[in-house]
């Protein structure tokens, strides 16, 4: 199991919103964590699909950013388990490099809150995560 919570520069410290980033690529996790942390999110990272639900219980995030391809358990399976678990309304954004229609449809059928394809701009990512806890959030990135 590999997860961590770190302070990232320039973010507000009072009552930050919490995001759990479930991503096994260390460098993309570093970049995303920096971007979100700088914008005031308290970022926890976790790299294993099999233990992702435990990490959600442990970190109690406001939002989850979930990669599709994870070791141990796919992002789709993790999403399905979230929707059947104790926090079915937890906002979840899925990240994938494939962006294929079938992936998007599968994620939407499982109840994803937002779907984003790589590569993305840092601002788009930040807007998307911010939008997850804003009213009237969109379902996908429109691609």
């Amino acid at each position: 199991m590999s997860d961590s919570t770190k302070a990232y520069p320039n973010g507000p410290v009072a009552a930050p919103r919490r995001v759990l980033l479930i991503e096994d690529e260390a460098n993309i996790a570093t970049a995303i964590a920096f971007i979100l942390g700088r914008a005031g999110w308290r970022v926890s990272t976790h790299s294993d699909g099999a233990t992702a639900l435990d990490a959600i219980v442990r970190h109690a995030p406001d939002v989850v950013v979930l990669d599709v391809m994870l070791p141990g358990r796919s992002g789709f399976d993790v999403l399905a388990a979230i929707r059947e678990g104790d926090r079915p309304d937890l906002p979840v954004m899925m990240l994938t490099a494939k962006g294929q229609t079938k992936d998007r449809e599968r994620a939407e059928a499982l109840g994803v809150s937002r779907f984003m394809t790589k590569p993305f701009s840092n601002q788009d990512l930040l807007d998307a995560v911010d939008g997850l806890i804003a009213p009237g959030r969109a379902v996908d990135d429109g691609r």
């Binding site: 970049a31 920096f34 971007i35 700088r38 490099a97 590569p119 701009s121 990512l125 691609r143």
Partner: protein, 415 residues
């Protein structure tokens, strides 16, 4: 507008520092005060003899005027920033970034070029993805790495005051991911090579000719030296008979152009307007010749249907490998006005501006009453940024411009 440290601004600074009036300096070097004013505001390029004269008049080493940030690097940095949506005020600080961190400025510029190249690769391969799981997997890996590089490079470009520890970590990540990107690209190329060896690579004769021309940069020294007699030997490397015949016909045209505008003439006078009188005003000959001879220029030739029948790419101006070009290119405007030479300043999505010379000319008729072909030719020359330019793109499939009235199909690039 002059940017910090631009050559125009340096001339202006040095002139003012010496208390020399603009009109006085202009008279000394034999140009008008208004032209010097344009140079000082980077609205006209400067180099060669005039730069030497100005340096002499200002009592400076010529390198003192031109030794700021490398203009090419500056252009690539601004393009990288524009591609990431940086506002003009941030783009204007590219010079400062390049001066303070020249090595990392090179890295950012190189990564941006890599991402642009990958976008073109994606275009060429996208049609195969649906049917080829192995290629889809390789592209998935490539896109993931591009994503990391893009995010990390953006952080570095947009966070001037970054903690040294984070800076070191991101630099290390960029280094590792750029290697991974290279490995991934190599894997995809290797996969395609193996597919070609299996006979999966079904190139048409025109695609074979395009590959042959690109492999030689569209320029053949023996054709320049020996004329049409060199053609059989040059095209002998093409094994497919139809492709070989097409290439031979194309080189015959190049040889005829070369006979009318010899290499030494074109090299000494690389301006389209100056060459026109030498070929009785046949603008297409001038554009083709300059496009073939000058590696820094791009060339596109289309037939009356708009299909591109020759593409000579140039760094910074992506030409689509598959499908048509941008409908806003002057190439297509020329097709609607045969015989009228056009010149337009156009701007690509990365902010780079180009001078596009274009003309459409009727091919020679074989008989009275016979159908006559029409070809449009466009020459692309990198321009110094000016105030106004027509926004264009590389072709709809790889163009990021949103809300373009001329768009005929969605872009495959991420929004």
């Amino acid at each position: 507008m002059a940017t910090i440290g631009s050559i125009g601004l340096r001339i202006r600074e040095q002139r003012l520092a010496r208390g020399i009036r603009q009109a006085h300096l202009a008279a000394e070097v034999g140009i008008s005060a208004s032209y010097l004013n344009l140079i000082e505001h980077d609205r006209r390029p400067i180099g060669g003899r005039l730069l030497l004269q100005l340096a002499e008049s200002l009592d400076l080493d010529p390198a003192g005027l031109s030794s700021g940030v490398d203009d090419d690097l500056l252009g690539r940095l601004r393009s990288a920033g524009a591609a990431q949506g940086l506002p003009p005020s941030s783009l204007a600080t590219a010079d400062e970034l390049a001066r303070r961190n020249p090595d990392w400025a090179q890295v950012i510029a190189a990564q941006s070029a890599t991402i642009a190249a990958q976008a073109r690769t994606i275009e060429a391969l996208s049609d195969r993805l649906t049917h080829d799981p192995a290629l889809a997997e390789a592209m998935h890996e490539l896109l993931s790495t591009v994503s990391v590089v893009r995010s990390t490079a953006s952080i570095l470009a947009q966070t001037p005051e970054i903690d040294p520890n984070w800076l070191g970590r991101f630099h290390a990540n960029l280094d590792a991911d750029s290697r991974r990107l290279a490995d991934g690209a190599e894997a995809v190329v290797g996969y395609l090579d193996r597919a070609a060896a299996r006979g999966d690579d079904r190139l048409t004769p025109s695609e074979m000719v395009a590959r042959f021309l690109d492999g030689h940069g569209h320029r053949f020294p023996t054709l320049e030296a020996e004329g049409p007699s060199a053609i059989p030997d040059i095209v002998s490397e093409i094994t497919e008979p139809q492709a070989r015949a097409m290439a031979a016909a194309l080189l015959q045209g190049d040889a005829e152009d070369a006979a009318r505008l010899p290499l030494d003439v074109v090299t000494a006078t690389p301006e389209p307007d100056a060459l026109l009188p030498l070929v009785a005003g046949e603008a297409a000959v001038v554009l083709r010749r300059l496009g073939v001879v000058d590696a820094a220029r791009g060339l596109v030739v289309a037939d009356a249907s708009g299909a591109m029948i020759r593409r000579k790419p140039v760094a910074g101006f992506a030409l689509p490998v598959i499908g048509a070009g941008c409908p806003l290119w002057p190439l297509y405007e020329a097709l609607s006005q045969p015989g009228r030479p056009l010149v337009r300043v156009i701007e690509m999505p990365d902010g780079a501006q180009w001078v596009a010379h274009a003309v459409a000319d009727l091919r020679q008729a074989s008989a009275f009453g016979a159908a006559q072909g029409l070809h449009a030719t466009m020459l692309l020359t990198r321009a110094v940024r000016s105030g106004s330019a027509t926004p264009v793109g590389p072709g709809c499939r790889v163009c990021p411009r949103e809300g373009c009235a001329a768009r005929r199909e969605p872009s495959i690039l991420p929004a």
